[in-house]
């Protein structure tokens, strides 16, 4: 891949929580700055109103106008707000689509505890479109799988950070891995088409990242970058200081949870050698451990009737699962 692609994947690895000290408060300004829905207006699904998930599309710059139009016309934030409606957080979680450059110096979506907002970057959506494979891969992953898997997986990952923060969830492991677990686990609570679209798309993204050189290097860079963080990521030791797992770890973690949660739907991962058997043998246990954690720490905040309704709805369009 090109240097630009590598840079994208490096940034993409973020998908992170941003601590309060790094954030600026957006929510106060949101009411005035949010764009009006140009129509046709979103028709909410009855019975899934919560009020805890205000949405806002901020004005895109010229580069991001197409991304704004695509996301807004799909009503992606409005739909996701309804998807989340069974989850009762103690504070509103604002869903914002915005230009992340240059303000945050990153294309990568993030949750910030400082303003309790999930920031979905227009640049990120553009990047995924740019790097999603144009042809079906050897693993049977389609371009649509990657695009849908990434926007859905990213929203779910960041929602994981928001839940950990607002619900005071005890997180013994590394939070970034835990947020990936949230994404995979929630995807696995829906029908097989949804499961396979999100799990395959999210996993394949990390494979692309690994193939682009996003895993820690094995040799020292003779010309290390000047930027301290980039210099660290170019070093065989320091690259492991990242709070995120390596791209390959995230790939295998995702494949493992898919197979562990639904062996019938994902047994082809093993048959094609994508998920090594040595890891696969433990995936059922890993999934059950995750399920137990979700039940213990998140489920008490979920309205069961609304959740039943959410699970009965086909959230992805047929064209988004091809």
């Amino acid at each position: 891949m090109t240097g630009v692609a590598m840079s994208f994947f490096r940034l993409a690895a973020a998908l992170t929580i941003m601590l309060a000290v790094q954030t600026i408060s957006l929510t106060r300004a949101l009411a005035d700055d949010c764009l009006q829905d140009p129509g046709p207006k979103y028709q909410p699904i009855q019975g899934l109103t919560n009020g805890g998930y205000p949405v806002c599309y901020l004005q895109p710059n010229d580069t991001n106008k197409a991304a704004y139009t695509a996301l807004q016309s799909r009503h992606i934030l409005e739909v996701y707000a309804q998807f989340l409606s069974p989850l009762h957080l103690p504070h509103p979680l604002t869903l914002v689509a915005l230009n992340c450059q240059p303000t945050f110096n990153s294309d990568s979506p993030f949750y910030s505890s400082g303003d309790r907002a999930l920031h979905f970057c227009y640049e990120w959506y553009n990047d995924v479109l740019k790097y999603a494979p144009t042809a079906t891969t050897a693993q049977g992953v389609t371009r649509t799988n990657v695009i849908t898997g990434m926007w859905a997986g990213t929203l779910l990952h960041e929602t994981g950070h928001a839940m950990f923060d607002m619900l005071d969830v005890p997180v013994f492991g590394r939070e970034e891995d835990a947020a990936d677990q949230v994404a995979a686990f929630i995807a696995l609570q829906f029908n097989k088409d949804v499961q396979r679209t999100i799990i395959k798309g999210f996993a394949y993204f990390w494979q692309m990242a690994a193939q682009s050189g996003d895993d820690p290097p094995t040799a020292t860079d003779p010309n290390p970058p000047k930027d301290a963080m980039q210099r660290c990521f170019s070093d065989p030791l320091c690259a492991y200081a990242d709070v995120h797992g390596t791209a390959s770890q995230r790939l295998y973690n995702t494949l493992c949870l898919g197979y562990g949660g639904n062996p019938d739907a994902f047994k082809d991962f093993i048959q094609m050698g994508w998920l090594p058997k040595a890891r696969a043998d433990d995936c059922g246990r890993e999934y059950r451990q995750l399920e137990f954690a979700f039940i213990k720490t998140i489920v008490p905040f979920i309205d069961p009737d609304m959740m039943t309704k959410v699970r009965s709805i086909q959230w992805l369009l047929p064209t988004e699962m091809q």
Binding site: P170, G173, K296
Partner: protein, 350 residues
């Protein structure tokens, strides 16, 4: 690139690259020295200075230092130390399983090494000290902690089975420590600190299981974070030896990870190295603050982008511990354990 990894003035950070580069300071000394000019000067002064600095704070834990038997296999074995007067946890049994001889020549060599470890462990009885160290932990059922031959460095915990510390791991710790030249204090810190951490790491799986703890994230990392957090609650000696020893061990034992190796449930040694640095720094940024400092033109051992969120990471583990494990801790016994002198003066770092 981190310049001081490649051109490190100190033992810890150049260990992988140049094991025979002569006397120098470890993390131990780095954190104590403080300003980088001082660090460089002390590095130049060599082993005597290093010993003095380490010895000033690093005494020996009775239970921890019993792990040093591996080192003492080739040293004169000291008499068993006196244990703090604490009750052993009645729910914890311990056992040292005698290694068995297999057919091949390699196994014969290993058998000899493991038998020496076994003999020393039987004399030093470190697991009995751990029974006392864990006295405050109220477990709902009995659990055995054993040392056994595993055929690998780890035997994954299975609910209902014992927690196993493998002779293979102790042997690896000893061999890594033996590769450290010119700094006996650091050797002992690696042996003692890593063994202690390893026991708590393995026990963490059983604690998660028996106390029905929800585990978010990869369990291997969760076990590391719990072990590190527990060790950081004790005196500077316990915290320091276990954090520095473990970090050094992970650094010196790290392997090159590529491709499908990342499918492992275990985390890469280098990732564990930074997790330990971060939890330690997050829990005590005075004692471990040296890791975030660097001389002009060099990068710190713990990069700034990670260091700035270590306080958050530490508090996250503390929060999880308070919610899910603290209810099973006897507060009075905890105070007794914290007050006990697990490290005896002069037994390590002399």
């Amino acid at each position: 690139m981190i310049r001081h990894v490649a051109a490190a003035p100190c033992r810890l950070i150049r260990g992988l690259l140049d094991r025979d580069s002569g006397p120098c300071l470890s993390l131990t000394a780095i954190r104590l020295i403080g300003p980088m000019g001082e660090r460089m000067r002390h590095c130049m002064t060599g082993i005597d200075q290093s010993r003095r600095l380490i010895g000033s704070v690093t005494k020996r834990s009775i239970f921890v230092a019993a792990a040093a038997v591996v080192w003492w296999v080739v040293q004169a074995l000291p008499a068993p130390a006196q244990a703090p007067a604490l009750p052993a946890n009645p729910q914890i049994q311990v056992d040292y399983i005698q290694p068995k001889l297999n057919a091949s020549a390699a196994d014969k060599n290993q058998f000899t090494e493991f038998t020496a470890i076994y003999a020393s462990l039987r004399m030093r009885r470190p697991l009995e000290e751990i029974q006392k160290f864990l006295a405050p932990l109220r477990l709902p059922r009995q659990i055995k902690i054993q040392v056994d031959s595993c055929g690998a460095a780890r035997r994954p915990y299975v609910s209902g089975n014992p927690v196993t510390i493998c002779y293979e791991l102790i042997d690896e710790i000893e061999k890594i420590a033996a590769g450290i030249t010119g700094n006996d204090n650091l050797k002992q810190t690696v042996i003692v600190g890593t063994f202690t951490q390893a026991v708590l790491h393995e026990l963490a799986y059983a604690v998660f299981d028996m106390l029905q703890v929800p585990v978010w994230g990869r369990e291997d990392d969760a076990a590391d974070r719990l072990a590190a957090f527990v060790l950081l609650q004790f005196s500077g000696d316990v915290a320091h030896t276990s954090m520095v020893g473990s970090a050094e061990f992970f650094l010196l034992s790290r392997k090159t990870w590529t491709g499908i190796a990342f499918a492992a449930t275990a985390s890469p040694e280098a990732q564990r190295f930074y997790n330990f640095l971060c939890i330690a720094y997050g829990g005590d940024n005075l004692d471990f603050g040296g890791w975030t400092q660097a001389p002009q033109g060099q990068d710190p051992l713990l990069p700034a982008f990670r260091a700035k969120q270590c306080g958050y990471e530490y508090e996250q583990v503390r929060h999880a511990f308070d919610l899910r494990i603290m209810p099973y801790i006897d507060p009075d016994l905890l105070l007794q354990v914290k007050a006990a002198q697990w490290f005896l003066p002069g037994e390590i770092g002399k």
